[in-house]
Assembly symmetry: C2
Homo-oligomer: 159 residues x 2
Amino acid sequence: MNKNFPERNHDHGASIESALEQAEALCRERGARLTPLRRRVLEIIQESHAPLGAYDVLQRMNADGERNAPPTVYRALDFLLKHGLIHRIESQKAFVGCAMAADAHDALFLICRDSGSVAETHSQEIGEAIEASATRAGFLVEMPVMEISGRCQECHEDE
Amino acid sequence: MNKNFPERNHDHGASIESALEQAEALCRERGARLTPLRRRVLEIIQESHAPLGAYDVLQRMNADGERNAPPTVYRALDFLLKHGLIHRIESQKAFVGCAMAADAHDALFLICRDSGSVAETHSQEIGEAIEASATRAGFLVEMPVMEISGRCQECHEDE
DNA sequence: TTCATATTGTTATATTATATCATTACAATT
DNA sequence: AATTGTAATGATATAATATAACAATATGAA
């Protein structure tokens, strides 16, 4: 079984717990405030296997009758993005939890067009190749966006 | 001078001409119809050095008093995308002309955060690195999106 | 011509995102 | 504790991006 795509029945609850704890630790270190609101947004995103749009998050926040408005969600998302706790999948206008918030890193997202799952991978090789290519063009890399859409193992192995 | 970022005063008009001719040839080959409307949209996008949003294109189409509506533009954009005549820059919700529509290819976009210019580059190395990384994850690559934001040579060389 | 299909026109609306200003919470200092 | 500056949230409105649905027209093949 490959490690990049989570198993269907792993203990998701526990991994969310620990991800949230890590997030809190990280914010504490940085003097950033992971308020209940922001924590809740992070939790909602972590809970989902597939990327969530801002309005999906909003719906979940308001499922119990609360009346949060779009700016509230977008602000929380901005905070989480800024601190690397979530990523934005540009090609889907959606957000996913970050697999390794602690380290600065460039991520390659493998987005399955069938199941919608998103795996975050990291490859020094790709980073270097991009750096090399950009340098040849006289370009200073600041923020790579790498999103590969295709099909994950589960979705293509039985064909 | 590097070839990836076009010079300020190259003969843009002529290169648009030839790009349009190429596009027509390509569509003819494929039995696709580059109608006046679609051709116009392509032309508008080619004319611009920076990526254009759909509504930017619309504005230019209607500058003379025409009354085209959003669906008209989006349809033309879809057609041009499908035939590889333009690319969509996901991280900017915007469109740029394709530098080499004739061949299927994966492009790496170098997007300058200062000038807004976008250079399209190609690197087998990157393609291979991505393929390798995806394969390790059991993933079948279909559509890579690679958009690097940073600073182009012109914008950082005098610092 | 006649038919089937592709393209364009038109209206309405969905979806995503932000501007703006008011209010409240926080936390550092006196 | 009162003061004050800043950060965070609340609330309303609206901007910007994108698509649904259906009507009308054009095009090419039989």
